[in-house]
């Protein structure tokens, strides 16, 4: 466990210095964060306007859809804050910088993650704001109780693990194909955007696809069925946790296998 502690120390050092170096350009940093938050919120506003007009979709109120959106955003933010470089593996494969990671006395994934750290204040602000607003709305309407509030951080965490696993498995395919950005658009971005709405609105095959093939449904929709709608039962939380762990284990195995297929670049 000692080695994991040193790794955490190293990562914290990276975070501190990155924040400090970004802060040298305060204006840029603040404006950038606000713009990111603003763009994300206006995206949600579009959805909200449609929902307000029709009073909800398939029995999901605007606050409940807001909860789905917020959980997804915060899960993604957590994943991309800690492991952004996994998403950018293509860069390492194309340039050959991946070589360097293999000369480190660490598991390659742990050498990759601290290559850079991304500050995503904008996404945190947007997600946090929508989350608070949705929870407040639902509490007021009496459709949820306080336990939902306490469970939310846990759901965000399991969601981040699932998104990380999907991202890692997608990146691993790069060991064969080198280029992965197109693939990432479908397995990561498109799937995530789709799951910002209740899966019930989709045809059955698509809903199943988003639950079992690319399990983004487990990030927000399935836990929300219990936490927000009170359907199914508490076992949903156990299943979600199990799903997160299974995904993680499978993605790590796949990654280990993929690394042995690495072919480096020219010189």
């Amino acid at each position: 466990m000692n080695s994991f502690q040193t790794w955490i120390h190293m990562y914290l050092l990276l975070i501190r210095t990155t924040v400090r170096s970004r802060m040298q350009y305060k204006f840029n940093f603040v404006i950038g964060s606000f713009l990111a938050a603003f763009i994300q919120i206006s995206e949600f506003l579009m959805v909200a306007i449609v929902l307000a007009r029709f009073g909800g979709i398939r029995g999901w109120s605007i606050h409940e859809v807001g909860y789905l959106v917020a959980v997804m955003t915060l899960s993604k933010t957590l994943y991309r804050t800690i492991a952004d470089e996994v998403h950018h593996l293509e860069k390492y494969l194309v340039s050959g910088d991946f070589d360097q990671l293999l000369t480190r006395p660490l598991p390659v994934l742990l050498a990759l993650m601290p290559q850079s750290f991304r500050i995503m204040i904008g996404e945190v602000m947007q997600g946090g704001f929508i989350l608070c607003w949705s929870l407040a709305g639902m509490l007021q309407a009496g459709s949820i109780g306080w336990p939902t509030v306490w469970w939310t951080p846990f759901i965000i965490l399991t969601g981040a693990i699932i998104l990380f696993s999907i991202g890692l498995a997608t990146a691993t395919i790069g060991f064969w194909t080198t280029r992965i950005s197109e693939l990432q658009t479908s397995t990561e971005d498109a799937a995530r955007s789709a799951a910002q709405y209740p899966l019930a609105i989709y045809p059955k095959w698509l809903a199943s696809f988003l639950l079992y093939a690319i399990p983004v449904g487990f990030v927000n929709y399935l836990p929300s069925l219990y936490l927000v709608k009170g359907e199914l039962g508490a076992w949903v939380l156990a299943v979600t946790t199990a799903m997160a762990l299974v995904c993680l284990a499978a993605a790590l195995r796949f990654w280990q296998f993929g690394i042995t297929k690495y072919q480096s670049t020219g010189s």
């Binding site: 080695s3 040193t6 790794w7 120390h9 190293m10 050092l13 990276l14 210095t17 990155t18 170096s21 340039s95 050959g96 910088d97 070589d99 360097q100 293999l102 000369t103 480190r104 006395p105 660490l106 598991p107 050498a111 601290p114 290559q115 850079s116 042995t260 690495y262 072919q263 480096s264 020219g266 010189s267």
Partner: protein
């Protein structure tokens, strides 16, 4: 220190197809073109040796280094780094070695140089006092303090190379791999790097293996040279012996005023030979060990009135090319 036994590496690339939907068909094709990058290379490097690993571009230098450092798995054959297999025990093996790729940096691009060292010290578990001691030593040898607090992306190539060398030595490995450490540097910067490497080798007994295209690197640093061509080792021995075997011809360009009379050479070949004659200018290759410079110029003077004369040292690429023929 290093042991390579019958190393081979082949790269398989899917055969690109022509015609319609070529991209998709290539993706699903089972046809491959096999390129043998390294063929049956075996050698041993003993502690304290300074080895130059040379050869033309595409000969397999980098591929070999990548196999020795555990980056690439050999198709067949085995590597041992201080008795460890860098593929099966990668993490243990790489803790013992420092690696510098001249073409890319291992430092954190946007962070000050000093911070990169802090992160690396954590990564290799170097205690704080040891890190401080070593950095103080390197700081003096490599003149690091002039860019301590500068982000890596703002460093000049020479500064970056110095910073990278210190980074590779921070965990005090006994074995150092350098892939073209002097590439793109000016003469002054090259000298600085060489001086540092010489000290590492002579005073601290580090074993070093470097690839280069610069003959001066080899002449000034290496006790042993290995030449690789078309994936196979074609020479392994001392620098002096290599020079002995190829003769390292110098190229002399002479321009005569009003033409010249080229005598019929009685013994063409070993001493000098005329490469080209264009108008009044001759290009001559000569082995300066067999015939002194003054002697040669005197000889050339008898052919006509010399207007201009220049002597170039042996071209390294040329030497290697000729050696492998």
């Amino acid at each position: 220190m290093i042991e390579a036994r019958h190393l081979c590496k082949e790269f398989k690339t899917p055969a690109v197809k022509g015609g319609r939907f070529s991209g998709v068909r290539t993706l699903f094709s089972r046809e491959y073109r096999v390129k043998e990058a390294v063929r049956d290379i075996s050698f041993q490097v003993l502690p304290g040796e300074f080895v130059g690993y040379i050869g033309p571009n595409g000969a397999g230098k980098s591929t070999t280094i990548k196999m020795l450092t555990g980056i690439l798995h050999p198709s067949s054959g085995e590597v041992r780094i201080r008795g460890l297999n860098p593929h099966r025990e990668r993490r243990k093996a790489v803790q013992q070695l420092g690696v510098v790729f001249g073409q890319r940096s291992q430092l954190w691009w946007d962070l000050p140089v000093k911070v990169s060292y802090d992160i690396l010290a954590h990564m290799y578990r170097v205690p704080a006092e040891l890190k401080k001691q070593r950095l103080e030593r390197f700081a003096e040898l490599l003149n690091l303090p002039e860019f301590w607090d500068t982000p890596v992306r703002k460093l000049s190539l020479g500064q970056r190379m110095r910073a990278d060398l210190a980074a590779a030595m921070l965990h005090d490995p006994d074995l150092l791999f350098l892939d073209e450490p002097t590439i793109g540097l000016d003469v002054h910067a090259k000298q600085g790097i060489r001086e540092f490497l010489r000290q590492l080798n002579k005073e601290y007994g580090k074993t070093i293996l470097l690839t280069t295209h610069d003959m001066d690197d080899i002449e000034q640093l290496c006790s042993r040279v290995m030449v690789i061509n078309h994936g196979a080792l074609s020479y392994d021995g001392t620098v002096a012996e290599l020079r002995e075997r190829i003769g390292l011809p110098a190229v002399i360009t002479v321009t005569y005023r009003g033409g010249c009379q080229i005598p019929v050479l009685e013994q063409p070949g070993p001493v000098y030979r005329i490469v080209s004659a264009e108008g009044e200018t001759l290009r001559i290759e000569a082995d300066l060990r067999a015939m002194g410079v003054m002697e040669l110029i005197k000889e050339l003077g008898t052919w006509g009135e010399i207007a201009d004369l220049s002597i170039e040292g042996p071209d390294f690429e040329e030497v290697v090319r000729r050696f492998s023929e």
